[in-house]
Symmetry: C2
Subunit: 505 residues, 2 copies
């Protein structure tokens, strides 16, 4: 006998809850691998993760999930598209259909090739030898072409890949906004460069003890709302945030004893991700309603705290005296305007992850355009370095000195993550638009930050964004929260308002 829609929904949610719990094992396995696992544990960890991936694949592709989705998809449950039930059914269906469309041999081939390809990329980057990565890049590109074809979700092949990272986003929806952003950023960066002004920032390279940075970073993370009873901070080579489950969200950072901003803004960035995670609705844990919306929205939360708060003048009104208490020698004589200018030093450079707030998005736009060329216009991997360098010259006025600071710098393509990059800029755009709205809703944020009051902004974000789970797609959420469609305008306004006075433009 067929299940009633409601019974089917209940069973679907129960199964998805179990899949989510098994999935959360991988978060711990991954965190531990980066953070605490001894070096010789690598091979066994690989076995563990492969066994878990197999288990998850079997559970998600169980035809019973398809049956339950069908039985549950009844008007009584889905007629209100933003109801808990409708959202959960829609989003589980999305994952189920996506996974079902991928041929098993393609999934396995992608896993195999990207694992080897990342190792080759690492060597190629170290040796500044693109040729070493090229055969792998070609294989990855070919497999991603196949994936795009198998998925056939969007109007163009690249859209099918993009959709994995930012559900619902397409070139058509993003390109107008990102293109407008580029058209505003290129002249802004040019004006900053040509202003001839450079802030005095040498004091940021004084000695800041690792212990002091950890203590200070923890205090800042706690102040902006990271709950250390429900998380922890550790040190890793590559910083990340891992949401293991309700009550357990862990962030990592790295320390440079001769450069304060690395750990501080890194911690604020990861804490931003973590605060999102800690703000999710526990009651819906195990269903899409209890999960985070998209990579772009996730990134909006990290950028919000890192840039819109952490690099604001008002934040430093509050933080500078505390930083001086922690590092009296290194910050001796530093005034508020000094540190505000220093942490907003703009300078075109080759490396994305070291880029300032103004140039960062140009790095992303370049990658977004390169990815479209590779997937939609069949740009051959062989031709990527030249295309990259040419585009870089036109955006930044510089030519990369070699491929290790050019097209070899990021891990993404070697790992098969084509379509991921745009979510970074999407994060910046969303952060700007959310922040503009928060100013209207929450009151004088600057006055609050100057007093060390971050709770009003944090609880606004939790209510408006975190607790919404996956009710809305990224761009929809922006429109629901701010009343306007996603636009380049708030980010451009923010950057101009900050950088024009700083650079006398």
């Amino acid at each position: 006998m067929a299940l009633s829609p409601n019974d089917a929904y209940q069973e679907l949610v129960e199964r998805w809850g179990e899949i989510t719990i098994f999935g959360s094992f991988d978060s711990l396995l991954g965190w531990d691998e980066q953070t605490t696992m001894p070096p010789k544990g690598t091979a066994h960890r690989g076995e563990q993760r492969a066994a878990l991936a197999g288990l998850l694949h079997d559970r998600v592709t169980d035809p019973k999930i398809g049956d339950l989705l069908e039985s549950a998809s009844d008007d009584s449950l889905i007629s209100d598209a933003t109801s808990v039930e409708a959202v959960n059914i829609r989003e589980i269906r999305r994952t189920y259909e996506r996974v079902m469309k991928m041929p098993r041999d393609l999934v396995e081939e992608l896993a195999r090739v990207t694992s080897l390809s990342q190792a080759a990329w690492k060597e190629a980057r170290e040796e500044k030898n693109f040729a070493k990565f090229l055969p792998w890049f070609e294989q990855v590109a070919q497999l991603k072409h196949r994936e795009a074809e198998a998925l056939a979700i969007g109007p163009t092949p690249y859209d099918s890949l993009l959709d994995d990272y930012e559900p619902g986003a397409t070139i058509g929806s993003l390109m107008p906004i990102l293109g407008s952003l580029r058209d505003e950023l290129v002249p802004l960066v040019k004006a900053i460069t040509e202003s001839g002004r450079r802030p005095e920032s040498a004091f940021l390279r004084n000695h800041y003890s690792e212990q002091g940075q950890e203590q200070f970073g923890k205090a800042v993370a706690a102040a902006i709302g990271f709950d250390f009873d429900a998380g922890r901070l550790d040190e890793t080579t590559h910083p990340f945030c891992s949401g293991i489950g309700p009550g357990d969200t862990r962030i990592t950072t790295r320390y440079d004893e001769n450069f304060l901003p690395q750990s501080l803004f890194g911690i604020m960035h990861e804490a931003g991700h973590a605060i999102y995670d800690q703000g999710l609705d526990r009651e819906h844990y195990g269903t899409p309603m209890g999960g985070s919306s998209s990579l772009g929205i996730h990134e909006s939360q990290s950028r919000m705290w890192e840039n819109f708060v952490g690099r604001s003048r008002s934040f430093w009104e509050h933080a500078l005296p505390k930083a001086k208490n922690m590092f009296p020698e290194a910050l001796d004589g530093v005034e508020l305007d000094d540190i505000y200018a220093a942490v907003n030093d703009v300078q075109p450079s080759f490396i994305r992850v070291e880029a300032d707030e103004a140039t960062y998005n140009l790095h992303i736009l370049l990658r977004f355009e390169m990815e479209q060329a590779i997937i939609n216009d069949n740009l051959a991997p062989f031709d990527v370095p030249d295309a990259w360098n040419e585009k870089f010259k036109s955006y930044f006025g510089l030519t990369p000195t070699d491929d290790s600071v050019g097209c070899l710098q990021d891990i993404h393509w070697s790992g098969g993550m084509i379509g991921y990059f745009p979510t970074y800029t999407l994060g910046n755009l969303c952060a700007a638009q959310f922040f503009e709205q928060a100013r209207l809703d929450v009151g004088d944020l600057d006055a609050q930050f100057a007093k060390g009051e971050f709770e009003p902004l944090r609880s606004w974000l939790t209510e408006k964004i975190h607790r919404q789970g996956r009710r809305y797609r990224g761009e929809e959420l922006v429109e629901v929260v701010t009343g306007s469609p996603l636009s380049h305008r708030p980010l451009v306004d923010h950057l101009k308002k900050k950088f024009e006075p700083l650079y006398g433009i």
Copy 2:
């Protein structure tokens, strides 16, 4: 068509390998829970472990395992009882049959009751209030009676429980040895107490910095053979060793800045467990041949390094100068004979985990006898405190001042672990007998220890014990390695040889 014995064996081993890998998730979940998990992660961790337990139960009790066992149990594979195939088939069958015999409602009831019971025990112990634990103790005892009945493995109900921790061991096989041990230990402890001698050990309570203890403990662990590239040392409230998988074995300890032996012997103890784990045959990982033999044999390895090495005079010939380098003030003026005597201070006391090498086994014997009384002679939990105190008086000449230092001191019974205790003394007995044999096989161990050479003993243990996996049951392994059945004699000889001169007996 039925599978050939060989194909059935291959599939059996493959399935068991996957079960082992999933089982290894729990080791990491458990390690993390004790060591790094933030406090609010508790509930989700419980969900994770429950989901995993369900998965493992389903996999182990899959009737296909029974079919494969049947098809594989062919003379061609099992005629040589110590062949890899025969051992794996025998030991997988043992686990399979044991799990299949347990009614599901009993398993769930045991999980539910022991979880609550441990919480009640914790409160009862803190409040020194046995009555608070009594109703739970009664439930646990009743469930363990049911378990023993369901399993019906040994000649008496208690044997069925004991078999879970020490396969093949029975009261009949252990009691003669443990009884003889008791008959020798009671007068020895009495003679020590009455000797009137007490070593000067106040210097062990000087200040030893935690950092120094960690550094010294790590150096000692590395010296005796713990591979820090395949493991790590952390701090927890209750020290333990967790073998997560090949290349990943983690130990923990706790530090008392005013008592050096706690961390030092704790680290040597856990490192002993870990060295066993690191010495297992990786090639057989995922099968019984790649696992450890029994709790008793495991404990023999920890006791070996903690007591037979760590509390020997020759070890301190090597270690004292190094300890003095690390703690020059605390150990100022301390001579070899001082520290040797101090770490061998014998004194009857109430608490098992703080007991010295001579009295320790009396604590275990008492528990072993109490457990037999509870399970086989229906001693009511209500009557346990009186029975405990009476027995304690007869072994130690002391009466516990309250139940928190009497029958409430250990977690085992509240957790349903009845039958576990005897493996501790079994560990001491096996360690003594192995050590006696090692002296014959490896040469002058004392001369080696005095020079800081622990590799000869370590590699002897690895070859004779670690690499044997589960080929032999505990007592069998002792006989194979030493040529004699397990006896109380080597342990008694070791204790007399050490303590008679120290106490002028």
